[in-house]
Subunit: 407 residues, 2 copies
Amino acid sequence: MSSKNAEHELPGGFSFAAASCGIRGKGPSDRLDLGILVADKPAAAAAVFTTNQVKAAPVLVSREHIAASKGRARGVVVNSGNANCATGKRGLADARNTTAALARELGCRAQEILVCSTGVIGVPLPAGKIIGALPDVVAQRAPSAASFDAFARSIMTTDTRPKQAWAEWRVGRKTVHLAGCTKGSGMIHPNMATMLTFLVTDAAASPAVLRRALRRAADRTFNAVTVDGDTSTNDTVFLLASGASGAAPIRPGSAGEKSFAKALEELCRDLAVQLAADGEGAGHLVEIEVRGAPSDRAAHRVAETIATSSLVKTAITGADPNWGRVLAAAGRAGVAFNPSRTKVWLAGQLVLRNGEPLPFDETDLHRRMLEPRVSVAIDLGAGMGRWRMWTCDLTAEYIRINASYRT
Amino acid sequence: MSSKNAEHELPGGFSFAAASCGIRGKGPSDRLDLGILVADKPAAAAAVFTTNQVKAAPVLVSREHIAASKGRARGVVVNSGNANCATGKRGLADARNTTAALARELGCRAQEILVCSTGVIGVPLPAGKIIGALPDVVAQRAPSAASFDAFARSIMTTDTRPKQAWAEWRVGRKTVHLAGCTKGSGMIHPNMATMLTFLVTDAAASPAVLRRALRRAADRTFNAVTVDGDTSTNDTVFLLASGASGAAPIRPGSAGEKSFAKALEELCRDLAVQLAADGEGAGHLVEIEVRGAPSDRAAHRVAETIATSSLVKTAITGADPNWGRVLAAAGRAGVAFNPSRTKVWLAGQLVLRNGEPLPFDETDLHRRMLEPRVSVAIDLGAGMGRWRMWTCDLTAEYIRINASYRT
């Protein structure tokens, strides 16, 4: 798996296209804001949606469509620049009209079309711009790495780079491919960001097999850069399988299902770590590891509390070995432990053992914390539970981006 | 009640002093970092401490002392510049030795002395500097507004100003006084900040009466600028009553107890709002009101989620009427509600009614959001529960302060 696509073969059976249809401003703009993903034939599909009480119109419509089609999809239409959320009845009509327009172009039913939006909340979606642009976009679609890359760029908001990953493995004498792309750069408070992920494979699998594998992979990867499983109003992950590899269908409970699940989880983790590393204004990717918790669930809670602590994040921004903030964050996570059994590591350096601070070379540790990837680890000495999470630091650039989002 | 002390009379029976003993740096510094509060005679005392699993040494020692003395205290010694937390056995000895030194000066038992520290975690406290300075500090103490002001300044860390409040009321023919000061400017993530509050009154009351009134007031005020009741490793509120007003003792269940509780709660709210307004790097004080929740507890949860959302905070930093972020934060608080019954107000402007966005004058609302105090309100349309919280916005100055805390 890798983050470069030059040498990667896309899964068969899918094509992609992107365009600039003018959602992002009043004047013309060359910034891509519309993308489509098209399956040559109806593909098996699975989805994971936001658990937010406030669900954007495209989430409501996609959820309805994937249920009505019994997990079959021909295409996905996605726009950036507007989340089509808190837009009332008009927003729902806009999302429906957009899927109907792509269905017309592809000659399929609207319920075989899925839809995503990302961007500002509470502003009506200029659906006419999307619908007007669709015929050309559909005509331009191609099963190429270049068009996949354009699609990955069209979903970006404050992301600084497109985020993609590839995998392939053998099933009998056939090679099966998996590719994905993701966006969601407000990952500093990931529960507020819109995270969109699109996964395509030419494996043959039923919607039920896809659903199980996707849910498991998302829990261990995308939800490990997310607070409490809480997600934004628009968060969506789609997985489509074309079967175009010609490999035998994946049977539930088979070794083939295990291989598929493993490849999917690894690829999702790759994308999730890319998300954290490209968090808004991020200067450092931060990997948080909690060990010795009473349970995995408790470890998850402690990891989340550390990962969302502004004081831990800003210490890493300043490459300041201020490990007391890590300990203090762990202590307020609502998990019982005895500080006198606790160990803390910063960038691999043990700084607290059994409640006693250890001497360390401050200049050296500061230097190690200047690296783009910084690890934070804590052993609570209270059991066997463990959890890993990824986040990024909190910088003045984050403030700049978010204090002037709409202006 | 007011934030100016020129015209206020201090509660009788207490004196104060502050000094610069050199905790804040290697060289001499004129910044106050040591304060004492002395009761002429043993005062009735009550305390509220942090619920963090990791408790600083002064918290452990103060908790022990107030229990051993059965709620009687002669003095408090407090330092800024070092939290004496995660400092192991040495830290506990340092806290004990400090209380013993003040007890020697006052001729009382060590268990009648309470102690607080605030500042960096994990660095040994230079207790010798405090102990060496105490004789002079004790000799300088005075029952004056100026010495109370110096005490309020000595506890400041990144606070930009001392925070004080006064109250007085009549009990029969006597006037009873109450005064307080607080610090804790990392209130943007208040659960990580050290919040210290000192309250003194010349009312006559038993420790039990003080405890009940203090717990109730703290829940509705200091905990309303705090996430989930989680607090830092050092958070402490002390309330001491001298009885020096000569007023009749407050009897449990009496009208006098109600007057006292009311005055205490109002004064604590005044201090708590001052804390939020002086949050690290704060440009705006933000008042969050949640109505129409299934219960007060649910309203509290929604208010906390909004109050700690980096995206809500940064929208206010930029005076950006991006109300979708308020709705999205409410939606991920884990409280069930129907967005189509929800109303949102920003700076008094209704922007969402029953799930439909309303038109508003963007320039005008932007201008109103430039005011130093900005209100955010949401009605979930799901019940009678309500809660109010205070926070501040999130600015580049917060990052600057916290990314270079120790350097």
